[in-house]
Symmetry: C2
Subunit: 538 residues, 2 copies
């Protein structure tokens, strides 16, 4: 049974084997651009004045085992999830009721909402929205039950690592199959690899191919196409803008998408730093279509009309350092470009929405309302991936009472984590620390928190990680699986349901981090890029 | 006329344009593996204990202009050059006469020759040899004549940079054509690019595609095929060995070949450090075919028989630090693997051979003797690429006298360089420093030198270089064009001519270095990888 698989994986390495494997990974990563720019903790700024150095992205030496049934389930749900979040983002009224109370405690969400309202007042001129999503899960194990999927987060903005995740899958496949799958030189024999005959486990012996890059770029290309010809007069050539942070270390992940976009779809894209939005783009706000025009600073005579603004920045409160950042967000939201995502879609991805969706009869059945055309079986399947959670500020008194009861009782609190509702802020409170913590703060502040049941990932999972500074660690690990998907839809005035034009699933991200043994919980260690080795027990 | 082309190239960049171009190059290089491991001068060892960091290979920001006629000529000669050097390496008797006198002054060549003789005594068991060649040229300009090609060196061992050179050509093409050739954002308008209409110059606007990787790997694959099935009993899987230096910073250049070899020919290859030859390979010298068996240290249960040993190491005297190195060379030479190159082929690439080949009637016509089946026109074409040179130890008294006369006369010396005959050693003496230098040493030592007429590359050539430490320099430059080729042949006992089985040309290396203005000559500055922009004047 599954636990044993984790206990006996990965295979042990001799000194010679470990040296070979690590050297191969160090070289393979740079050879293929599975790289990041090093942090100043690794290379001091004075050693790297031109910022030319690169290092491997942190990676696991082995792919992590994952039950094929759970992987298949996650994939099968993705298009429904895409549709769900499109429907949520399309329902401004519903989002408003959810945001109302959050706005009081979360300045960031409040400011996003306010920016949306300003654009609404001006009138939105673009009725299409693009979502590039990643639904993140952990495996939950409990006695006598097969492992199940629990959703951690549904990312609606800046869903990253599609580019590098494809490369990790390719690297692990290389390690498992070079020069032949029966006699790989990098991996010793193990029941999960093809170099071992096993009767109790079925595995294809290497990671499934990862189509994240082609899926994500196909989404961008669909939006680019749907935008249609330039609305400027005279007409301009069109492009996609990647909105990026001023200091981006994960640039090669992003370049994998822009390269594929040009090579396979012939669509040019440019990188625009958030600090340059106002200087390098122009938007005639009195033009009925408000075309967003980008001028590459190196080639001022050639202007481009922007079809899609792909946000790889401006997703977190810490990025909005001054009023210029908010002005830039407003500027882009108000323009005629398709936003990936719109502000409403970013808000749809907030923790609070995720918690509210868990409501079910006798409470409101939001899932059914947002996905009226899906069978109960599909909705139940989706619902099975929700981790039980309770808002301590729920408008549903029964939910609230239940949450408070579980949180204050030391015995039940022991299986929960208390998380602040606001985005990107504050520490989580674990287990039996919850009751004394709640008692130490005024009851009026309880509503800022959500109580979640703890997820129990496979306890005996191990892996070895090559960090970006070259250090190698073997440790107990926990993994998170993300499934990528894209959705393009049109909003029609007065119609609650979005008109979905493109809805796809494809590609995955596996991230693995060391268990923080001091905390005994799932607190974040150092996160590494990983891939999957799917298994079925026979 | 040509000089003007160089004077007005590359186009000037504004600050914005330069910043864009440099940033694009910094990112493109790492994204595509156009990388090297940094030297400890760039990153101190303590900052990089795991040796994980990488940086861009030094590259020019623009491709360098090159006359299409000279490029075409170099390509058209390559297969004849391949055949010439195969014939030289095949003619042990002739090489012996050339080496006889060199052996007195050059310990390295003496030791190589001695190793060859030892293997000869044991009996060679492999009658095939693979050459992976690079013929290096400079452009020579003189008043009122079109530029012409002059050969600098014909490399018969470790001809490197094919992998990275392909990437540089790809990068310059990207810069010249993204997002469109008519409106590239990275390069300002210039007559040599497609973004400018010119009536006096014809250019395709970007570098010719570089097929070095496919050409070189096809050579390795041909040799692998020709080796045939395993000669061990029981039979073993076969592989190619890349013999590499213990501390190799140019590893990504080599990995480009092994990756292509596996992907397109399905041939596994392994990297073997010179210090590990004796521990990781085995050769049963009493076996009639002496199969060379390699055991990957990480996978001792799987042995491979080596079809080809590809030397990317053991080419220079400085690499033979101790007797183990010579023992390893002997070990490999004696084995049944096809050597790329054999010792005889390495010796054929010595400077002395290059000088002797310039001999022509009334002296011996070696070219005609080695290439009996080629027309006089072809041989004259080949000969036109020889720079005039004279051995001060020539067995031809007329050549020797002419050389000494030119060297001692201040007026004629001013157009020459004096080079030591021995490999990898000593400084060159330039121009008017030659007469006093010769007078300062005993006449008996003059024979250690070759006098070469100076080559005059285009004087006004400029380019900008991004070094591996991130520094950017614009300077006067000189460039060297290398053309790659491979040749596989069989030696039949008593037959002077080799039986050529595979003879190809394809791919190029352009290297560009800053002129050292202090010396006013062609002394080496810092060398960068470059590509070509071919032009014709109309």
């Amino acid at each position: 049974m599954s636990t044993e698989i984790y206990a006996e994986y990965p295979p042990e390495l001799s000194t010679q084997q470990e040296r070979w494997l690590i050297q191969t990974v160090k070289d393979w990563t740079i050879e293929h651009g599975l790289a990041i720019r090093p942090s100043t903790a690794i290379v001091p700024e004075k050693t790297n004045p031109g910022n030319v150095l690169a290092t491997n992205a942190p990676v696991t030496l082995f792919p992590s085992p994952f039950p094929k049934s759970c992987y298949d389930q996650a994939r099968s749900l993705q298009q429904t999830y895409n549709e769900l979040y499109a429907a949520i983002a399309n329902d401004e009224g519903w989002l408003e009721t959810i945001m109302e109370e959050l706005i009081e405690v979360d300045d960031f969400l409040a400011k996003l909402w306010e920016t949306h309202l300003r654009v609404k007042k001006d009138g939105y001129v673009q009725n299409m929205t693009l979502g590039m999503f990643r639904s993140d899960y952990m495996l939950h194990t409990s006695e006598d039950c097969p492992p199940s999927l629990k959703q951690i987060e549904f990312n609606t903005i800046s869903s990253s690592f599609g580019g590098l995740a494809c490369l990790v899958a390719e690297m692990h496949t290389h390690l498992a199959t070079y020069p032949s799958a029966q006699h790989p030189v990098a991996y010793p024999p193990h029941p999960l690899f093809s170099n071992y005959e096993s009767t109790s486990i079925k595995s294809i012996g290497h990671p499934p191919s990862n189509t994240a890059v082609s899926t994500l770029t196909a989404g961008l290309a669909a939006a680019h196409q749907a935008y249609g010809p330039s609305k400027s007069s005279p007409q301009l050539p069109t492009c996609i803008l990647f909105l990026v942070q001023d200091e981006e270390r994960n640039i090669f992940d992003q370049l994998a998408l822009s390269r594929h976009l040009y090579k396979h779809h012939g669509i040019p894209s440019f990188r625009l730093r958030t600090s340059k939005v106002m200087s390098d783009t122009f938007c005639a706000f009195d033009h009925p279509s408000r075309p967003l025009v980008y001028t590459p600073p190196s080639s001022p005579s050639t202007k481009y009309e922007v079809t899609v603004v792909y946000f790889r920045a401006l997703y977190s409160p810490t990025e909005y350092e001054n009023s210029d950042c908010w002005a830039s967000r407003y500027w882009l939201e108000r323009s005629g470009a398709i936003k990936c995502p719109s502000i409403l879609l970013q808000l749809a991805g907030s923790k609070k929405v995720q918690q509210v969706l868990t409501s079910r009869p006798p409470g409101p059945d939001y899932l059914k309302a947002f996905l009226p055309n899906h069978s109960d079986a599909t909705l139940d399947n989706l619902r099975s991936t929700f981790a039980p959670q309770y808002s301590l500020s729920s408008t549903d008194p029964a939910v609230q009472a239940e949450g408070i009861k579980l949180a204050l009782d030391r015995a039940t609190a022991a299986n929960h984590v208390l998380k602040p509702q606001r985005e990107g802020g504050g520490n989580n409170i674990y287990r039996t620390n919850i009751p004394p913590f709640l008692k130490s703060i005024p009851e009026s502040e309880w509503k800022q928190y959500i109580l979640m049941e703890l997820i129990h990932p496979p306890e005996q999972a191990h892996n070895t990680v090559l960090r970006s500074d070259g250090a190698v660690f073997m440790s107990d690990v926990i993994s998170e699986l993300g499934i990528f998907g894209t959705c393009l839809w049109k909003t029609a005035p007065g119609v609650k349901q979005p008109e979905v034009m493109h809805n796809t699933e494809g590609g995955y991200l596996m991230r693995t981090k060391a268990k923080d043994s001091d905390e005994g919980g799932v607190a974040a260690g150092f996160s590494s890029l990983d891939s999957l080795i799917l298994y079925e027990e026979v």
